[in-house]
Symmetry: C3
Subunit: 117 residues, 3 copies
């Protein structure tokens, strides 16, 4: 029915303090992502999982969210890089499934997407 063919990819959303944006962008580029979008001037609150009772984010912090869509194999590289960082710094990472119409915008090669999750 669909005249536009859709392919499943993963959307990775990373929310960190503004001062940690460069670390995240470097990590994404080293992992091989083909692009990302940055949402600026967010705020937030939360308890830090590691040090109970500490705030994850202070209400005065300015946060950023970096969103990137990528194939599964790059998600693994991103998570392996970001997880140790989030053990020591404030921030969260979410992974979800999205459909995209043009694979060429999200990875160097056509991948067999759609199998997982």
């Amino acid at each position: 029915m669909n005249s536009v063919k859709l392919h499943e990819m993963k959307k990775v959303e990373i929310i960190v303090r503004g001062e940690d944006l460069e670390f995240v962008l470097d990590l994404l580029e080293k992992a091989g992502v083909s692009g990302y979008t940055i949402f600026h001037n967010l705020s937030g609150k939360g308890s830090h999982g590691f040090h109970e009772g500490h705030l994850l984010f202070n209400e005065e912090d300015t946060l950023v969210m970096v969103v990137s869509v990528m194939p599964d194999k790059i998600v693994e590289a991103v998570l392996e890089g970001i997880t140790p960082f989030l053990n020591k710094h404030s921030g969260v990472v979410f992974v979800s499934s999205v459909m995209v119409s043009r694979l060429a915008k999200f990875g160097k090669t056509e991948v067999s997407a759609g199998g997982g999750s």
Copy 2:
């Protein structure tokens, strides 16, 4: 294959007028969410479901989106609180599945996530 284990949680996105932000944050805290992120200065348009023909948002309104990741049982409490509010006020709520790497950041206890929506 994944060296970082992922757990399924729910992402709740609530978009309301800026003046209603405090109501939403209070509701989330009472429901027991462990954190949230706020996106400011959004705009939007839409028809109001209850009063046909009325605008959901005026083009001049400044909207906010509050995003929070939580286990299923907290989603129910949030929806029970927000639904009566959205019957009378402008706004929308979306629930989707996301994977997170560290449960401790999103709920007080390890929950058996992943069973399904």
Copy 3:
């Protein structure tokens, strides 16, 4: 268990240059969406799938994201309109599944949502 019944709909996220916002809003209205939210002042980077080596977005561009929740049949119309545009302009579109509590806010009629991916 849930006292609030949820229905599956599709969330469409479109990220384009700020100068292309009006095109996207016109397209959504012609496709019959009942509402949308706009995120302003985003930034980003990426390679253009069509012209290898070109940047999808320049780091100086100001981007916008338009988010809209709609039934499947409207997604098709939106994708048929946006895909030719994205072949010539910078931008990306993601489609994902979300649950909403009140169908009336997202489409003119009650649709049988929930069957599909």
